[in-house]
Amino acid sequence: MLAAYAIPILICTAFIIPIFKNQKIIKTLAILAIFISLCLVFLSSVDVFYSGIKTFAVSGWKPPFGIVLVLDSFSSTIASLILFLTLMIAIFSHKLVKERVKEFYTLLLLAIAGSLGIVITGDIFNMFVFIEIMSIAIYGLISFSLKKEGLEAAFKYLIIGSLSSYLMLIALALLYSQVGTLNIADIINKINLNDNTHKTILFIFLLSFCIKIGMFPFYVWKPDVISGSLEPIAAFFVGVTNATIIYVIIRTLYTIMGIYYSPWLSILAVLTMIIAAFLALLQQDIKRILAYGSISQLGYIFLAFSTGLTFQGVYHLVNNAIIEVLLFLSIGTMLMHKNKIEKISMYAFLLGVLSLIGIPPLSAFFSKFFILTGLLENGMFLYAIVAGLISIITLLYYMKIYFMFKQGEKKIYWPIIILIMAVLLLSFFPVWLQIFKSVEINLLDRYGYMIEVLKP
């Protein structure tokens, strides 16, 4: 499997970079490493789409005794998505980062290596190790600017993020004592949801990730952390880290536990959506408005996943990640020059905002439309009405940002243009419908996952 070589490439480049002193060599090396990993993962994902789940046993130890890297279509979608977004962020920060370039690119490469490891691995302790790698790199990146807000945001995220990781480790230890194995496919074999102990342990596992991602009662730290970090790092945090932790929650919920309709998660998701949207109306700071907006979209994604609308959830996840990165990068250019704003960034920001609100024919309109029609078909009228109303409130708070800026001169930033093209590309929904339907079929099939991974 080709994608297994992507993680060592990223980590080795991260450790080779501090040797060089020339800034241009460092930047080109980093961007080249991310590009090569993107090509490898993309080729592997195309392979997976045509021919089922691929596994790779590390050092030849067969599962369930060794660590196995698993690529099924959901993993490969998210892996290619996060590598693409990191490539855009790395090219964007090419111009932004003038000093301490070595540290920035080392931390960025470690963060993306950690995220890729989370998505690819099939063993939960390995997942813990990669979560910690990604978290430590992100703690370093958030405090990169060494100003007051950055340090404070990094300290808050450190305490709360470490707390949630250790909660996950507690759940992991208790799970090992009950089940006896650490391989995800083998856990599917041995777990029994009627048993109260197993249920409690898996709920602790899930809730620890809900703390890490900012669901309803645990969202209080997130706007502080996002508004205190530099814009490309905020884009990385909202685009990539969100996507990987959503992946972990969905893997636990769908594959390990086998719960496809969970009422408590849908209630939490709706509350997240409503409260984040209302709190965004009061804010005066641009990055805090964007942060609350991203928490609100997270509510949409979990509403879709917890009421059985799987492919709508995946479509909205992909859309949301790309659009949030676009919004944060364009805010980055707009805040760099305060009096003269580039026209491209303004149009990019407007495009992203209009798409998230739900104006056809942009991409997030289709994902929201599918979510709404799916909810109405399943008979959950209250959720559909709430989702529709929150779209209107989304419009209100994004328009608030629009009033704070004026027009200016013209300058071109390549990553923003590529992201605009990606957003427009995602609006041709029949193509993505086919792809995400096949992702859904693969996700809902937990016994297929188990059989494929544990083949002798």
């Binding site: 300290f155 808050k156 305490i159 709360i160 707390l163 909660l167 109260n196 249920k199 409690t200 709920f203 602790i204 809730l207 703390i211 009662p217 645990f218 209080v220 730290w221 706007p223 502080d224 408590w264 409260i275 209302f278 709190l279 109306l281 009061l282 609100i357 739900g358 104006i359 056809p360 439309f369 709404l372 029609t373 109405l376 078909e377 559909a384 529709g388 779209s391 209107i392 419009l395 209100l396 328009m399 608030k400 009033f403």
Partner: protein, 89 residues
């Protein structure tokens, strides 16, 4: 069909809101009351203030002070409550 009608209503409402928030041009000479010129707030700030007063959001905003200890307390209490509720049901 219901879904199309519902979504059409939502789109129409968004467009109406969009058009109503566009700021209008201000007059050149300010009006006088009690001998001093009156200050007008921009229509959009008035809109957001009335909306937030109606929904009672100031109380909700007080939940997120800057203090890390309050955050940790809220996260811990909600975690325990959610865990107990989830296991009982």
């Amino acid at each position: 069909m219901i879904q199309l009608i519902a979504y059409l209503i939502i789109i129409v409402l968004t467009i109406i809101f969009f058009l109503s928030i566009v700021p209008r041009k201000t007059k050149k000479s300010p009006p006088y009351t009690c001998g001093e010129p009156m200050k007008f707030e921009k229509p959009e700030t008035v809109f957001y203030k009335t909306l937030s007063n109606i929904l009672g959001l100031k109380k909700l905003q007080k939940l997120s002070t800057g203090n890390l200890n309050d955050y940790l307390l809220m996260i811990f209490i909600c975690f325990m409550l959610l865990l107990i509720i989830l296991v009982i049901i």
